[in-house]
């Protein structure tokens, strides 16, 4: 099972603060996710030819400017921001 330290490390990297109960819950949830993903390993993948799931390459875009969004639109989700910027108040 995924360790308590691993959960704390991931939480720290993601700037999440978890209490004891949450840590235990997340350990269980992550475990079931990992087990689910591990099921792939149990498959017999020795078929003749694997289906090409990633046969697309070079999906490029030409270097041509398209008009950007208006500033008001960009800042709409943050109550308009401040002086045209996203604004983050100093935390105490």
């Amino acid at each position: 099972m995924i360790s308590r330290e691993e959960v704390l490390n991931l939480a720290n990297l993601s700037k999440l603060y978890l209490d004891e109960e949450e840590i235990e819950n997340i350990r269980k949830e992550m475990d079931s996710m990992i087990n689910f993903a591990n099921e792939i390993n149990s498959l017999d993948a020795k078929c003749e030819k694997l289906p090409e799931i990633n046969n697309i390459s070079n999906a490029f875009r030409e270097d041509e400017i398209v008009e950007s969004y208006p500033q008001e639109e960009i800042l709409k989700n943050v109550d308009g921001g401040r002086e045209g910027f996203f604004y983050i108040k100093k935390s105490n």
Binding site: N9, N12, L13, S14, K15, N54, I56, S57, N58, A59, F60, R61, E62, D63, E64, I65, V66, S68, Y69, P70, Q71, I74, L75, G81, R82, E83, G84, F85, F86, Y87, I88, K89, K90
Partner: protein, 470 residues
Amino acid sequence: MKYDLVVGLETHVELLTKTKIFCSCANKFGSEPNTNCCPVCLGFPGTLPKLNREVVNFAIKAAIALNCEVNLLSKMDRKNYVYPDLSKAYQISQFYEPICKNGYIMLDSGKKIRINHIHMEEDAAKLVYKNGDTYVDYNRGGVPLLEVVTEPDISSSDEAREYIEKLQMIMRYIGVSDCRMQEGSIKCDVNVSVKPEGSDKLGTRTEIKNMNSVTFMTKAIDYERDRHIDLIESGEKVVQQTMRYIEATNSTESMRSKEDAQDYRYFRDPDLVDIILTNEEIEKIKKTLPELPDSRFKRYVNDLEISEKDAALLVKYKNVSDYFENASVNLKIPKTVANFIVGQIFRTIETEAEKEKFEILTTPEQLNEMVGLIESGKLTMNLAKKAFSKMLESGKPVTEFVSESDMQGIPPEEIEKMCKEAIESNPNAVKDYLSGKEKALKALLGSVMRQTRGRGNAGEIEEKLKELIK
């Protein structure tokens, strides 16, 4: 004990593409905040980044110019970290399969600074701090970068400076970046360690982040070297950590230590597909590259007999070098053109930024015409220099400042007469010259030159004077 300094550089170069790396917003410096933005570069969920083909082309150009191999298959990865300059909480970069590897930049000493790899990535947003609060401008978010990563081959702050200056020069020549430190279009992270002289084992390194001035970078390297040596000498250990350079005190301070070192959990970005290149495409791009500064420098010194000092001044900025090339077309002695650029044009230009732009009124064709007249013997160097000053001020051609009679020269009998007069009226100078004082001849020469109002050919007159005195 003596120590060797070991430095590696990771340099971020902002590319001069028209648009950002994964969306069609303008890649422009100095706009109003958050006006070159869209849901893709703001990292909204559900948006799909699409790679700008020009970024790939620029990376290939850089690879060729920096003697790298181009990886025919490369991929984009996610670098995960949480910070307000990155709303997606991951930066799209290249980690497992970067686009270029194994290159080098050669220093003047002949030493090669090896380049481990070059990868493409997006820049993060710009943070502005005011009264402890943070203001975020996403115009820079998604601007394309190339990160050029060296091996730890640099062994002094001077070598680091030369490496960066060469990198800037090459990037400008190939037109992928303007590399302006003060605008942040080139930045570097510096890895520093020391080891006992001659030892094979590398010491513990520290990394100084975000240097955006070559001068401060060299100071930071020297400071960090001394700090490491002091620690070792006093029996302490260098702690592997990330440092910040403080300009005001010329010192470094810790940003974060190894304990909370970043764990970026890189993985393949599932939104972006493989980049597959062919040798034919690479060859095609190679053909579009201009002659690189090193090659120009060698040609100027070896074939055109320009001094190393002047050749270095000419190649430093592509605009200057191109001007020299254009002004030298079909001339016998291009060195004369070089002398006018270094001697007279540079005197009218104050700053490095102006040299880089090299916007001057006289066209290369006008300088070419004037030097052509010198070469055909119609114009003396003396008159040309005077005329050229006026040309530079006005942008008018040489014919505006020298008359037909100036260009006809002075008949030899006239010259002889003037020389005789000078000799007769300066008996002391003649005596001095005959007693071995070579310099005394200059006084006579000067007097004749004044007589000709600068139209005479100094070499011819000098010969004539010597002939007459004997």
